[in-house]
């Protein structure tokens, strides 16, 4: 049985199609990364799967339960942590835990025990009586995760769980996710961080409502759309990066190119080798520091896929 499955999942707001015929399959125990630009429909998909937003068309199951008809049972099995820190700032850590425990029907001894467990598992002992609003980002996120896990859900939806928290806390949170996924919990995570995407066991990429890629990080990097036959990639570093890119594009040296930090990631025709590229660029008066062959990163893959999709949309 799959942890999550959707078939032609569609959501319309009036005439606007926020999510169009999206079909995904998530295996149990996977850390499933759901990526896409802002406003591309990631949150809408999560909202439909968690029952916050009705499904316009298509079907969705969570652990074999139909989201549309068995919402109540689904709710007992899923947890959700939204984009914003959605705990109560004016309640203490303990009060937040107690409230979520009670919301999930825990009572008396069971509630007490679960609270103790959550505090211990997230090392929150020191902060029990602190107002949630006065915790730092990382601790807030731990508390939110603790609250979302109190009822022992088997599928957890995390909508940009690491947005705005520091790298150390980010790393710790992901370590925790893998620990939990080892225990059989399935994670459905959205993120904008590529290092986080690299760690996912499976990725789906949604672009303005359309699912345009789906696979393991490696399979996405080696997609033919990302590595068209007869091309190769170079990383070019230059002192005046934007001028360099503009001049190179005027000469039509690149099939496509994107600036990453202080370098250009360029897709170049096979007929132009590294030597020729170096030579050509210098001949055009572009100052360059270094040219290296490049294996596409996930970011290259997504940028490439997005640009192709954009061109298709404009053509249509």
């Amino acid at each position: 049985m799959l942890a999550i499955e959707t078939r032609n999942l569609t959501r319309r707001f009036g005439d606007f199609v926020a999510v169009n015929q999206t079909s995904i399959k998530v295996e149990k125990g996977e850390v499933f990364g759901f990526l896409g630009p802002n406003g591309s429909g990631k949150t809408t998909v999560i909202k439909m799967l968690t029952g916050i937003l009705p499904i316009t068309e298509g079907e969705a199951w969570i652990e074999g339960l139909d989201v549309r008809t068995q919402g109540d049972t689904v709710r007992e099995r899923i947890g959700y942590m939204s984009q914003k820190f959605s705990l109560y700032d004016d309640l203490t850590v303990l009060e937040n835990l107690r409230f979520y425990g009670r919301a999930y029907q825990l009572k008396g001894k069971a509630l007490h025990q679960k609270i103790e467990e959550t505090i211990a598992a997230n090392k929150l002992e020191k902060y029990v009586d602190r107002l949630a609003g006065r915790l730092s980002g990382g601790w807030k996120q731990r508390l939110a995760l603790g609250c979302a896990l109190m009822h022992e859900p088997t599928v957890l939806f995390l909508d940009e769980p690491t947005a705005g928290i520091d790298p150390v806390a980010r790393r710790q949170l992901w370590d925790l996710l893998f620990q939990l996924s080892g225990k059989g919990i399935t994670f459905f995570v959205t993120t904008h961080y590529m290092d986080e995407a690299e760690r996912c066991s499976h990725l789906a990429y949604i672009y303005y409502g359309e699912l345009i890629a789906d696979g393991t990080p490696d399979s996405l990097r080696s997609l033919p759309e990302v590595n068209p036959p007869g091309t190769h990639r170079f990383e070019i570093s230059a002192p005046a990066i934007t001028t360099a890119l503009r001049k190179a594009q005027e000469m039509s040296l690149f099939k496509s190119a994107t600036i990453f930090g202080r370098s250009i990631h360029a897709l170049v025709d096979d007929s132009i080798g590294q030597q020729e590229l170096d030579h050509e660029m210098r001949r055009c008066g572009i100052e360059i520091e270094e040219i290296r062959p490049l294996i596409p990163t996930l970011e290259d893959a997504f940028v490439e896929l997005s640009q192709r999709r954009q061109m298709q949309m404009e053509a249509a």
Binding site: S86, L87, E95
Partner: protein, 380 residues
């Protein structure tokens, strides 16, 4: 079948914690209403008294003293001065000055006794007195016209009847339930209904809208908490708040303003239940429309102003145009004010007021159902 109000207890627990942490909510729920009650009760006197009056007495000789005028005119002016309605603050000596007092707003009433006042009276002709009234406050104007006319009438009668004879008809007014015509007695029971409305509608609406603003409402909706459980858990604390506030306001009225409580407090409490339901439901309905606290405030203001002006709290409903009078029947505060005034001032009980209570209860239940429906839709 799932428990439709699942999660009510959890939400109630949380809501009470919020209130305990929020000094502003406490201030808003209990301190501000009392403050408003006290200020209003002490400051507002709806009886029109001591209206600033300027006098130009042109009768008799025109001497440049304050005691100008003739003896006949002075008798008339004494009646004016002793009426408590007028306070003569200035005597002027020309029409221009008198006009100036009115235009500048220093005088609300100007009285002119013409030069031939005495002469006409002595000849047995009709003598005239000019009373100019500033109409910018219609209440003051009406009262001033009435009182000055009746003084004139009374003086006329006195002159026509033989000395020592009494007026043929004497009206003996008996102002029941508020014999001293004290304004607080009339105002505060109504004010109580308005304050209850203000606090319960706003607190309810704000507490739900705040969850929308923070995004926590979505978090709640993925829990097994059902929309109805969420709504009831949200409004229950404010129902209790409303009852406590009612008790506090009643206490202030009774012991600070010395307004006698002629009816049964428990009857009042019972009849208030429906009203609180109405208010809480309005709060929920507002929150289902508004996406921010600022928006909610706008909605609340509309509810407030309609309740203040169309419920008979400030202005009698009987003088409203027909459409407004008809509208006042769907303003919940209209019934609540009938109830508070009835129980507190007239000592009315269930037998007289049950219909008002029943209407409020019906409104309350109906609106709560509508609110639950809207709430479900809002939260899927």
């Amino acid at each position: 079948m799932k428990n439709p109000i699942q999660g009510m207890g959890a939400i109630f627990y949380k809501e009470v914690r919020h209130m305990r942490r929020d000094p502003m909510a406490f201030l808003f729920a209990f301190v501000m209403p009392v403050l408003q009650l006290v200020i209003l009760g002490a400051a507002i006197d709806t009886n029109i008294r001591q209206v600033r009056t300027a006098v130009y007495d042109a009768s008799g000789s025109s001497m440049m003293t304050d005691v100008s005028g003739s003896s006949e005119s002075r008798a008339f002016l004494d009646r004016l001065r002793n009426s408590d309605t007028f306070r003569v603050y200035k005597y002027v000596h020309s029409d221009a000055e008198l006009n100036e007092e009115m235009i500048s707003g220093r005088a609300s009433v100007a009285v002119k006794i013409p030069i031939d006042f005495d002469r006409n009276l002595l000849k047995g002709n009709q003598a005239q007195v000019l009373v100019m009234v500033d109409g910018s406050d219609s209440n003051v104007a009406g009262q001033a016209v009435n009182v000055s006319s009746s003084i004139g009438l009374d003086e006329s009668l006195r002159r026509m009847l033989n000395p020592g004879r009494k007026n043929p008809i004497e009206v003996r007014p008996n102002v029941m339930f508020n014999p001293a015509s004290r304004s607080p007695n009339f105002l505060l029971p109504g004010m109580m209904a308005i304050l209850l409305l203000l606090v319960t509608v706003m607190l309810t609406a704000f507490s739900i809208v705040r969850e929308k603003e923070r995004g926590t409402i979505e978090q709640l909706l993925v829990t097994p908490v059902r929309p109805l459980g969420l709504m009831l858990g949200k409004i229950l604390p404010y129902f209790v708040t409303g009852i406590v506030e009612l008790a506090i306001l009643l206490g202030f009225m009774r012991f600070v303003f010395q307004i006698p409580m002629h009816g049964n407090v428990l009857v009042l409490g019972l009849l208030t239940t429906g009203y609180l339901f109405v208010n809480l439901a309005i709060g929920v309905l507002v929150s289902s429309k508004a996406n921010s606290q600022a928006e909610a405030l706008q909605f609340c203001l509309v509810v407030m102003l309609l309740s203040i002006f169309l419920s008979g709290f400030m202005f009698p409903r009987e003088t409203m145009p027909l459409w407004a009078y008809a509208f006042s029947y769907i303003v919940p505060a209209t019934y609540m004010i009938k109830i508070t005034r009835g129980v507190i001032l007239r000592g009315a009980g269930l037998e007289q007021l049950w219909l008002n209570g029943a209407i409020l209860l019906a409104m309350g239940v109906g609106l709560l159902l509508a609110a639950a429906h809207r709430f479900k839709k809002m939260t899927v």
